[in-house]
Amino acid sequence: MKLSLKILPKKYALEEFINTILLLKLPPYSRIKILCYFTQYENWIDGNPNLIELLKKNGVMIEDFGEIKKLTAFYVDSRTQEKVEIVFYTRLNPDAKILYCITIASMTGINYTLDRIARNSRGFYFLPIGVYTFNLITNFLLQSDKNTKCTYFSATHSPWSTIEGEVRSRIDRTTIYYGFDGFQSLEELKSFYGVLPKTIRYDVPDYGIFEIKNSGCFTLMGEKIEVESRRMLLKLSEIAIKDVLVKKEVIDAADFSIIPIETESRIIRIPKSTPWIYKFSKELKDEYLDLLINGLIEDEFTLFNYTTFEGGSFILSGMVYDEIKNNIFTIHVDNSKIIVAPSKTPQFDSFLRFYETLEYFDPEGVVQAMD
């Protein structure tokens, strides 16, 4: 089976490619999507494995289209047992190290291919869109068109979140909502049930219908004027990237190095670690310590060699094993913040994943560098 986005095979410069996409006629019933992934790569050829090798290892075929690369991936449809081919046109931004992908593949297809790589492979991760970034996008759309409506959202509440809601805050819950009053309903459900958005669909009368997922997937659900709608889709992804990059840059500044110092008799190696900090939005009460621990366990961060100090305030201190990204680091948590320090060369994807968990724990917290 094949439902792929097709452009003329040739070497594209970036601008030419964007123009092509803006004007491209889509196959019927297909929707254009933009996916953004953070990577550790500045280009396609450096690194061990390099980006090409990483993708190939995961069954992705790569063709060179100039500044653009065409990726072809496959998965087996679990219902029909058919092998499905999907295509992504991608560009690696060398400064931000973001792999920018355009596709019409289904969410299932994306889930089995690039999202799977982002989940499991080193040096590759989603663009995490949290509450703060969603709000930025919402405000931007309302400014662009004051009649923008949220017509659908999905939102979840975890028992360990500091956003508790008014009722039964220790219950795991997911809400899916359809209706033209989505913005209000999301606020109401947040205050009543403590849910936070995972997906939001915006109906922007002048531009089209856009759906944004917390995993960094932007879908154009309905086009008004093709070029303008698609331009808006690009714009939305840029807003998200710009916002998350600010946080990622702080996280990326974390480091662990071994420094030689020279004494009179020899050279001694000493450690130098630079952490990043997640500052909580408020002083947390002691009871939140257990909730945070539960949240870490649920998100597959295993604590070991750790201890807690309690008495008026709390400290949690020890080592963390990220079971998904396979990375060890160390933390110090107290009532006002969490200090995250690498214990060797840091791994940004594991830290981003940790940041996502912390953002879900306290959505109003902020990422800070060490003073």
């Binding site: 080193r122 071994i258 420094i259 110092i261 020279e262 004494t263 009179e264 008799s265 020899r266 001694i268 190696r269 000493i270 450690p271 130098k272 670690s273 952490p275 366990i297 597959e300 295993t302 070991f304 060699n305 750790y306 201890t307 100090f309 008495g311 008026g312 305030s313 400290i315 201190s317 020890g318 080592m319 094993y321 079971e323 396979n326 990375n327 060890i328 160390t330 933390i331 110090h332 107290d334 200090i339 995250v340 320090a341 214990s343 060797k344 060490m370 003073d371």
Partner: protein
Amino acid sequence: MSLDSYEKFRDSLSKRNREILEKIYSEKFEEHKNRIEEGFDSNQMHNKLVNFCINCFQTDSFLYNKTGYEFVFVDPLYQTGPKNFDIAIFKIKNKGLLLVECKSRISDYDEIIDDVQETISDTIKNVYMLENYFGPLSFINYVLCVDAVDAQKVVEKIYERNVPICTWGCSFFQKRLRLFKSEKESHIQSIESGRMHGDESLRRILYEGHESARGTESTIPIFPSSHMLTILNHTNMTLIESSILRGIPLDSFDFVRLNEIMEREMLFTTFNAKKVEELTQKMIETALKKQIYEDKEKDIIDIMKKSLRFSIPGRKPSTIIKNIHKSYIELNAMNRAKSDALEEIKNVLGITTLDRFFKVKPEF
């Protein structure tokens, strides 16, 4: 005691006495389990206190920038014997060394001061070893770092006993490190007696109290003096991490792999290659004894050549870490409880020796 002598003895008893023995055993088991857990927990607290001090003096920290003192080694003289300071902090410019002993819990002030005094005299004998690293030292300040709540009492006791130890009080929650002074002597007297730092900038900042931007995060996760369970946890988690990263299956590993990890972890100690190997060997022996590892080649005697695998269940790090803990604590507690139970049953049965119960004399 060999493990099966307990079972042999138990089976030789009447039903009633067997029940008594088993009751004693299970009480002792719980008791020992709790005690071992406590020992591990208190090592964790100690580890965090040591790391708090390390972080305060990390190169490029506020304290380093203001005073020139920077953290260099953990357990700087560990190889010379059991008495040994936790941290060495050095200032290149004046060749002054701070040796810091951290005590996270104090039950007896005198005992702790005795302990540090002994450590000082051992250190004096081995100053040449420190000078191998630093060159000729112009002075050493000995420091006892305790919970700030206890610090004033400690410093008064140190004054009473007239020993040259500086006292740092650490408040974890405020992330504050402060130098304490006895109320019974002046600043000048304290400096002359070695109870306050001679280095002016260090003394001033610490006496006013330094609030660290850092916390207790484990810059150095394990030290040579760490609890063996702490070492087992860290080394094995690192083994799993590196195995997955390199795509090496976990069903077989050996001394070389583990020693590679240990070498990296011991970078900031004064351990040489041989000492690192000894520690790795000790860890493997413990892991085998506590049934955490399984020996795949029992006919090979040399631990360095053995091929090993985990004998505890699980593949996920979270499961493995839980089972290392369980296996270590329970096997330790079991052995101690059996030995205690055998001792205690003698009183219950009114006998002085268990010899007649065994054809072969049990090993205690």
